[in-house]
Each structure stands twice: as structure tokens, then as C-alpha cells.
């Protein structure tokens, strides 16, 4: 294709977008609404998924240290724990710390147990690399010296892992289904706008235009409509996500939970929406005009 012809096609598609005012408006809003839905759902589901993962990772093994353990024994135990492959990190929490937590959670009555009356153990809180190996780690730890007991929430944690797996799978299915819906809806809108212009395509063909000469402006026009249509949901979602992110993160501060950071998550989401818009817009329009080119 000559450079001259290429520029002509670009100019032509902009002109067409302007002159087809209402059709352009209809197509752009259809793309915008669809992608707004898809984008919001993806943002919500991915964050639910992230929180689910955080919950799982918050499950840790509590290793109660035998009362008979001396300081060296305790240090040796910590070393043993840290040497385990699946262990990410080990935090020591003294019986005093533990009691403070209980008081913080259940009330001052437990203050009675402070000092020598404290019935609690010193504890190592062991976080594992992956949530699935928590029970294995707990089993291994139980056999170590100076361990009074090791537990990880047992059945409750196992149940939690199951629920989270389901949440994750359902989320993935919904996201895939939504993307398919978006593709279908956008392609269909483009098809309708082009159908209204089939006589134009026929005339172009009768005047001696080759298929590609007709196709290029339509393809570029489709891409532009997809792009403009995607810009609207992209800006809405970005604005809401960025402001929502700050608000929610202040609530979550000090916990182990966090939303997906705007960079890279929001950036990827924006790229995905723009790509869907542009690709479906251009491919959709060039496929839709195909059958009208047979003149």
C-alpha cells in the first residue's frame, strides 16, 4: 500500500466517525458499557481472590515451647524450625506477649493471670511458604525436642482452604465468561453499524474499489471506536480504584490483608480493556464487511 493511500484511509476513517455521528455514538457507548461491566467485575473478583490468598497465608503454625526448655534449647528449636524448607519465617512471642493479646481480645479480667500466674506458653509463630503445607509442617514440628504442642487450626483451616479454592475457581470462570460476553457484544454492535452501511460498501465495490481499499477505513474506524469506547470505562475504573484503594487500605493497615496495588494490577487491567476494545473493534468490523464485499 502506498503511503498516500494509507493516509487517505486514516483521514477517511476519522471523517466517517464524524459524519456517522449517531452510529458512532451508539457503538462507542455499547463498547463503554460492556467494558465498564467487565472491568469492574475483574477488579472486584481479582481483589476478592487476593484477600482470599491473604487469609490463607495468615494461617500459621503455633509452636508451644515446653516449659522445661532453657534458653539454649529454645534457640536450638528456633534454628531447627527455620531450617525447614517450607518455613518462611519464625516469630517468637513470649507468654507475656501472648497474655497481652488475650487481654486485648477478651478483656481486662484476664489481667489476673499476669506475672507468675500466667498459664500460657512461650510460642513460636511459624509462617509457611505455601498455605497447603501448613499441616505437614505442624506434624514435623510436633516431633521436635522441647515442643509441647504444635497446631494450625486443624479442621477449620482445612475447610478454609477448600472454600478459598472454590472462590478462586468460580472467580476465574466468571472472568472468562465476562470477557467472552464482552467480545460477543462489541462484535455484534460493530456488525449492526456496518450492516446499516452495506449499500455504501456495495457502491464502493461498483465504482471499482478493491476489497482492501474498502476494508482499511472500516478496520481503522472499528479500532478507533473500540479505543474511544474503552477509554471511558478505563478512566472511570481508574478513578474509583485509586480513590477506593487509599480509603480501604487505611482500614486494612496493621492487618495482614491488602488490596492489589494499582501498579501493576490497575495498569494491566487498563491494558486489557484497551486491547479488547481495539482488537474486537477492528477485527469485528473487517469480518462484518466481508459478506457485503461480494458484489
Amino acid at each position: 500500500m502506498r503511503a498516500r493511500t494509507f493516509w487517505r484511509h486514516i483521514k477517511e476513517s476519522f471523517k466517517s466517525i464524524k459524519r456517522n455521528g449517531w452510529m458512532t455514538f451508539a457503538a462507542v457507548s455499547a463498547v463503554a458499557v460492556t467494558l465498564l461491566l467487565v472491568g469492574s467485575f475483574i477488579a472486584i473478583l481479582m481483589n476478592v481472590n487476593k484477600l482470599a490468598t491473604d487469609v490463607e497465608e495468615d494461617v500459621s503454625v503455633r509452636v508451644y515451647i515446653d516449659l522445661a526448655a532453657e534458653e539454649e534449647d529454645q534457640e536450638a528449636l528456633q534454628q531447627n524450625l527455620e531450617e525447614l524448607d517450607e518455613v518462611e519465617h519464625v516469630v517468637f512471642s513470649s507468654r507475656h506477649d501472648e497474655l497481652s493479646k488475650v487481654i486485648g481480645r477478651y478483656g481486662d479480667e484476664f489481667g489476673l493471670f499476669e506475672g507468675d500466674d500466667n498459664p500460657l506458653y512461650d510460642v513460636f509463630i511459624v509462617n509457611t511458604e505455601a498455605p497447603e503445607v501448613t499441616s505437614d509442617v505442624a506434624d514435623q514440628v510436633e516431633d521436635m525436642n522441647y515442643v509441647a504442642d504444635a497446631n494450625y487450626g486443624g479442621a477449620t483451616a482445612d475447610r478454609l482452604f477448600e472454600v478459598m479454592a472454590t472462590v478462586r475457581n468460580v472467580g476465574a470462570v466468571i472472568i472468562v465468561a465476562l470477557i467472552f460476553t464482552a467480545v460477543f457484544l462489541i462484535a455484534n454492535t460493530i456488525r449492526i453499524t456496518i450492516f446499516s452501511r452495506r449499500t455504501e460498501i456495495e457502491i464502493m465495490k461498483l465504482v471499482g474499489a478493491t476489497n482492501w481499499f474498502i476494508r482499511w477505513p472500516f478496520l481503522i474506524e472499528g479500532a478507533l471506536i473500540g479505543f474511544i469506547g474503552a477509554l471511558i470505562p478505563v478512566s472511570i475504573i481508574s478513578y474509583i480504584y485509586l480513590s477506593g484503594f487509599d480509603t480501604i487500605m487505611t482500614y486494612l493497615s496493621g492487618t495482614y490483608f491488602a488490596l492489589l496495588a494499582p501498579n501493576p494490577f490497575l495498569v494491566q487491567l487498563v491494558a486489557l480493556l484497551l486491547t479488547i476494545g481495539v482488537v474486537i473493534g477492528s477485527v469485528g468490523s473487517s469480518l462484518s464487511i466481508r459478506k457485503f464485499l461480494k458484489v
Binding site: T5, E200, V207, T210, K294
Partner: protein, 228 residues
């Protein structure tokens, strides 16, 4: 030169529109195609620029053999055959100027050449002052003249006019006729399907009468020959 030998056209619905037609039209001729409605006039004309493909037979337009012509090459045939339609077939969202220019952009002419030639042909059809208007802002006669300007802008060897005066009042029709004469005088073959007996009888040219899918009468300086 256009040559059809033993041409048949049967539509999928079973109607045989062209039934063993032979004709030869030389470069530079002016030919009227007449005949009752449904006799095959339109099909005959459409086969010249390959809107319809014959079921059987031979159609040659210049160096193009239309039965062997691949779909991809059809646009190149159409650049040598200008067509003026009864319903004008102008692009509704393009201005008068752009409609004519489109036919030249298709060929890949440069913008300077295009501008010069488009204004030239619009001047010829007397519409130079309406270049920026859209088709729906023009009268029928004016739209038909834009269509003619578009058909001749690439200097085709053949100009086909399918009932170009069908939708126009008599006075406007004569204006169109003068234009076609002028184009013919420049050496372009003009083939005009028409129901206008007045024109055919007063401006004498070769007449091809199509009936039952054949050439029933081929007459130099002929007359219309039907009740109108």
C-alpha cells in the same frame, strides 16, 4: 470493444433472463438498449460490468474475458467501465466532490491530479458550484449528473447508463442526454438502456431491442419501436 457470444443467464430462482444472446459493440459506438420490462435488459447491462455472471457463453470487454475473470480482478474491469445507475448510487455521506474523487482515489491517483480532474468533470456536468453539497441536498437531475461525472472521471472506454433518465422530468432528461452525447463524441462507447421513446426517436443511434433474453432487433439509426 464488447463481444457476447451465445450467452445464457439463469437465476437461482429458475428464471432464464438471457437466452442465447449474441452481440458485438465496437469502440466509440452509441447504443440504445430497449425492450419491455423483464425482457433481460438489466441483466444484459449488468453482465458488462460483471454485477451478474453469465451461466454459459462468452463475454469480452476490451481485454477482459469476464467468465475467466477472478473475483479479485473485477475492480480493475470496473475502472474501465463507468456506470450510471437509475437510482444514482451516490455515497450518501460524501460530498459531491468526494463522491467523484472516490472513484479516482480507488485507482490511486495523486491528490493534485484528482483535484484538477474532479473540478474539470464537475464543470462539464455543470455542478462546479455545488461541490461541497451532499447528495440529499441535490435534485434528482443534479444527482444524476454527479453520477455521470463519477462514471467518466477515470476516462473509461465504456460508459453504461441504466435508464439514466428514468427518474427525471423531460427537460432534465434532455440535459443528461446532451451530456452523454458529448462524452460519446470524445470516443467513449456509450450503452444506454432506456424506456424514453422520445429520446431514442429524436437522437438516432444504433438500437438493440432485447426480448425474451435475446437481441430481437439490431438497427443502425433505429427507432424505439414500442408503444410508450
Amino acid at each position: 470493444m464488447i463481444e457476447m457470444t451465445n450467452v445464457y443467464k439463469k437465476y437461482p430462482n429458475g428464471i432464464t433472463a438471457i437466452n442465447g444472446l449474441d452481440v458485438r459493440i465496437d469502440q466509440g459506438e452509441f447504443v440504445y438498449v430497449v425492450g419491455p420490462s423483464g425482457a433481460g435488459k438489466s441483466t444484459f447491462i449488468k453482465m458488462i460490468y460483471r454485477e451478474e455472471v453469465p451461466t454459459k457463453g462468452n463475454v469480452k470487454v476490451g481485454e477482459f474475458d469476464l467468465l475467466k475473470l477472478k473475483a479479485k480482478k473485477v475492480p480493475f474491469l470496473r475502472r474501465h467501465v463507468g456506470v450510471v445507475y437509475q437510482d444514482f448510487k451516490l455515497l450518501p455521506r460524501l460530498t459531491v466532490y468526494e463522491n467523484v474523487a472516490y472513484a479516482m482515489q480507488v485507482v490511486g491517483k495523486n491528490p493534485k491530479q484528482i483535484q484538477k480532474r474532479v473540478l474539470e468533470v464537475l464543470d462539464l456536468v455543470g455542478l462546479k458550484h455545488k461541490v461541497r453539497m451532499f447528495p440529499n441536498e441535490l435534485s434528482g437531475g443534479e444527482q444524476q449528473r454527479v453520477a455521470i461525472a463519477r462514471a467518466i472521471t477515470n476516462m473509461p472506454r465504456v460508459l453504461i447508463a441504466d435508464e439514466p433518465t428514468g427518474n427525471l422530468d423531460p427537460e432534465t432528461a434532455w440535459g443528461i442526454m446532451d451530456l452523454l452525447e458529448e462524452i460519446n463524441n470524445q470516443g467513449t462507447t456509450v450503452i444506454m438502456a432506456t424506456h424514453n421513446s422520445d429520446i431514442v426517436n429524436r437522437v438516432r443511434h444504433r438500437v438493440l431491442a432485447v426480448e425474451n433474453g435475446r437481441i430481437a432487433r439490431d438497427q443502425e439509426e433505429g427507432v424505439y419501436g414500442y408503444e410508450s
